[in-house]
Symmetry: C2
Subunit: 603 residues, 2 copies
């Protein structure tokens, strides 16, 4: 993007600010639902700054403009902001002000901060309001200046919604809503407002494709004790979905008028909402309508969160089958990569696995952008190969591929690190330790009440003992035909004090993905998805265990048995035996079956 264009856009933005009496205008990166990926419609910050990273905040005053982003993007942001007149502020770097510190320092007494309140997290807005009240700063948060200024702005995403049939969802909306209402009652509330898209989709059994990689429907939902109001774009609805909603007593309202509708709503009792999942605009409206009626606004995690996380038997059956199908395709890809990846770019390699998944029955979309990192790029945890800059794989070292799909019967996620040729002894050691780490967590037996904070060290112990570690969580929850990253459970040894630590429960899915990343050299990650199952009850308590959903070989060329305990070896042999048993019958090509037999042979 030409810096002159950005300067011109900023000039127009400042004119509009002046017209609207706004002194500082804030542009966050989020959509209206704090989704993991923001659609082109929401790329307002990129439009006005030229900075295209996934995370960043632009702040424009009459004289200055600043962009805040994190360490992943310092180099890219500096390049893209050059000559735009926008100052780069580096997040989490000592001495650099935060957005709030900047505002506290620069905003004059009684000045006006403008922003589109639908794109700012409620928690952030509340904090800013509190911290800036001493300066008597006013908020103008009902104005999306991009609506007037952004020519050729892409449309709001609007894909056709569809119903997940009961033989797939395993639980009809009417049962789910009864369960949610029981929780509302337990919390002393009569109204629930949902803004989290995957929660709304889980509850209604509706799906769409409004967020990249997330099969969700842009919507809000207001649930009372006897009604449900679904705010959705009219064009998203088919006749089938309209009929389904009517049948289920769900009143359909216009998405674009959500705020206006809610503002006029008179709750009959306390209102339940999850402050970490609503925008500042929604929070403000909910507070107003609740207090107006003398009721309370109760801030608690959405009751849908835990219900959604614990998959029902039908969801589990579909998930298991979907992972077997996905694992078979991945196995074919691994065979292909071993033989053909050297010489191709990471981008081409990612295209290959993406194309293979796209041909699978029931394929909806990728569940996230495929990571294919060769050599030192494997050490960049959130690496995404771009066509222009992707590295070319050679017949040596490691290729790391983290990929997954959304299907009509489940959501997959898997990582394998593939040996393309010669390895150093250190690479083998690292690969073997990561393999042991992954297996040890998968083998865990633990009593009810255990959380990911307790269990994370099952994976890390073997790395820590060698002075190694990885700077990401060991695992995240996974949705069912929904988001690949789903709470509330996770496998992390450190969690924020404010984050509740949720015990693992039967039917939860978690990823198990330890890694080792050596900057400038190589990166290794091995990821299976696990299902939480009941194990046994003894006089010492009720115990749970994991069962793998993923069945794909772990490259034996990089295994150095010297770094495996007897138990590790046994666990790997047992796992590989099951991989062959379950996957071989799904492989059409006899040569690949033969190869699978070879790579899954016992150590």
């Amino acid at each position: 993007m030409d810096a002159g264009i950005i300067r011109e856009r900023l000039r127009k933005l400042r004119d509009a600010m002046q017209e609207n009496g706004i002194d500082f205008y804030l542009i966050p990166s989020s959509d209206y639902h704090n989704s993991e990926y923001a659609a082109p419609f929401f790329q307002v910050r990129a439009y006005f700054s030229g900075f295209t990273g996934s995370s960043g905040t632009l702040l424009v005053s009459r004289e200055e403009a600043g962009l805040w982003t994190d360490g992943r993007y310092f180099v890219q942001a500096a390049r893209q902001l050059k000559d735009t007149g926008i100052t780069l502020y580096k997040m989490m770097v000592p001495g650099e002000p935060t957005v709030l510190e900047y505002l506290k320092d620069r905003m004059p007494e009684g000045s006006v901060l403008g922003f589109d309140g639908r794109t700012l997290a409620a928690e952030t807005g509340v904090e800013y309001a509190k911290e800036l009240q001493g300066k008597n700063v006013k908020f103008r948060y009902d104005k999306d200046l991009a609506a007037e200024l952004w020519e050729d702005r892409p449309a709001l995403p609007c894909t056709k919604a569809f119903v997940l049939p009961e033989d797939i969802s395993g639980k009809p909306y009417l049962v789910k809503s009864t369960e949610v209402r029981a929780k509302m009652r337990e919390y002393g509330t009569e109204v629930l407002f949902l803004a989290k898209l995957d929660d709304i989709c889980w509850l209604t059994n509706l799906r769409a494709a409004d967020v990249a990689c997330n099969p969700v429907l842009l919507s809000y939902l207001l649930l009372t004790m006897d009604h449900a109001y679904l705010f959705v774009q009219p064009d998203a609805l088919t006749d089938e979905v309209r009929a389904y909603c009517k049948e289920n007593g769900i009143t359909v309202m216009d998405y674009e008028k959500t705020v206006a509708h809610i503002s006029g709503y008179a709750p009959t009792g306390n209102v339940l909402f999850d402050r970490s999942n609503v925008s500042y605009t929604v929070f403000t409206v909910l507070r107003q309508i609740t207090l107006n009626r003398g009721h309370k606004l109760i801030n608690r995690p959405n009751p849908t969160l835990l219900l959604k996380a614990c998959k029902n038997e039908t969801e589990l059956a579909h998930t298991r089958e979907t992972y077997l199908a996905d694992s078979a395709v991945l196995t074919e890809f691994l065979y292909w990569a071993k033989h053909h990846a050297a010489g191709l770019t990471e981008f081409e390699i990612a295209q290959k696995i993406d194309g293979m998944r796209a041909e699978m029955p029931g394929f909806l979309d990728l569940s996230f952008d495929t990571i294919a990192g060769y050599g030192e790029n494997g050490a960049i945890v959130h690496y995404k190969p771009e066509q222009e800059t992707a590295a070319r794989a050679e017949a040596k070292g490691f290729l790391l591929v983290d990929s997954g799909g959304n299907f009509k019967t489940g959501t997959t996620d898997v990582t394998r690190t593939i040996v393309l040729g010669e390895l150093t002894e250190e690479m083998k050691k690292h690969f073997t330790l990561v393999c042991a780490a992954m297996l040890r967590l998968a083998e865990a037996k633990f009593p009810e009440g255990c959380t990911g904070r307790n269990l994370d060290t099952y994976a890390r112990e073997v790395l820590w003992a060698e002075g190694l570690d990885y700077q990401h969580g060991t695992g995240h929850g996974i949705g069912f035909v929904l988001n690949v990253h789903e709470g509330p459970q996770n496998i992390r040894w450190k969690t924020a004090a404010t984050q509740p630590d949720t015990p693992l429960q039967k039917g939860m899915l978690v990823s198990d993905e330890p890694g080792i990343y050596i900057e400038g050299s190589h990166g290794i990650r091995t990821e299976n998805i696990l299902e939480v199952r009941e194990w046994k009850e003894t006089e010492h308590g009720k115990f749970l265990c994991f069962a793998p959903l993923t069945y794909a070989p772990i490259d034996p060329e990089a295994i150095d048995p010297a770094y495996l305990s007897a138990k590790d070896k046994e666990a790997l042999n047992r796992y590989h035996e099951r991989v062959y048993e379950l996957i071989a019958p799904r492989l059409k090509d006899a040569e690949i079956r033969e190869w699978l037999k070879e790579v899954t042979r016992p150590l």
Copy 2:
């Protein structure tokens, strides 16, 4: 105790309640400092109820009386309360009311609840006040009715204080108080009130023997930015201690007048205190004097807590030597027990080890009542043998001995389970798994920031994998010439959400004491004390490790190598090799040295 005597005491108590306008009188079990053990002076609940358990609350109204205690004491309490007219309320049993529920149910509008506010935790008092305000209940908390009614009441403990010399404490009071004041400043406070006895003793480097097994001085301390006021009984002070206080600018005040003095104190700024460690009386006075002056009362963990937990190099050197001396005596005891315990009672066995410790140089007291549990009594976690009821050990099964001492150079704690004769295969399996659990935690390497919640599973993993578990924490912090149970760190997989989870840090001491308890059959616990040390720094972070302080053999007769991994075996052999190296030179008796060589031989 004759029930008639109790009824007579209750009659007099009710007369005194009437005279003082009190409708309900509450008698908790605590001393003024919420110490782990309450001195005879504080056994008011036992005096009025006849119930002598360590934990319980008596509530007396004009017509009724109730006693609340926990599961450990249901049988004993039912027996001791018989015919007294006091109703037993079982804590944590569904359907039984809590004290607060009882009060809410029974107290009439506007009635008066009396108690000695110095013996009630501030948190409890505040909760009661909040919950009973709807009924307009008034508190009369300045009246200790036992002061008038309890004839021959034992005196308040008052032992002679002594100074821990600098070559033992490693850090003079003036340095410690400077560190504490830096924390006070960081918290925006100018005054600190300390009620926690071990915190006061750590800060002042004073010790005494006012609480059983805790070498502490009954005292309060008020620290300002340039003064310190120590409230202490005049008789506790020797000339040496008076001179020491004067030298260090510590003004000595009368302990019995603490509340009166504090009530008249005018703080110059915000006041820091730790609500979980002060009584309701102290809290109320602090709140009053702070608000009177327009300052804030800041509730945070005592800044002494973490400073005390991280032992300095001098403390560590003394601790290491003290544990070696203690381990040598324990080894002699183990030899004795293997040969002579069968035929003796648990009480006599406890007397033996207690007597051996009492003869050690620098001995002050036991650090807790010795647990010597034979056979099925080993499965009772907090078992204490009494002369009349102790079981007699036989030449079979296990004897569990958990014991420790306070010395002028450290505080010890150690558990060994001793084989007295024939064992079942299951007993050997359990013993071996507990040994592996203990060693695995001891062998842990972990990055800075790790807490006991992360590491607890290092010990439990091997038990959980067999469906086994133990219902207590794996470890607690330990004081230096102070309390054997010391915070803030611990090794527990479950901690209350309200309890901060403190990362392990260099110089901290923790116990490592997994166990298996099979009711009616046997109990096993093996406990070493560990010191947290720096291990190494790599590109992945700064790592810590543990080093054992305890060096005593783990009975090889109960080890079944089938339940040990190669690493476990290696760790056990390495540990036993060090036990022999370090302890053999300290044993005078050649026969015991020979025996030690034998029991520490490699597997």
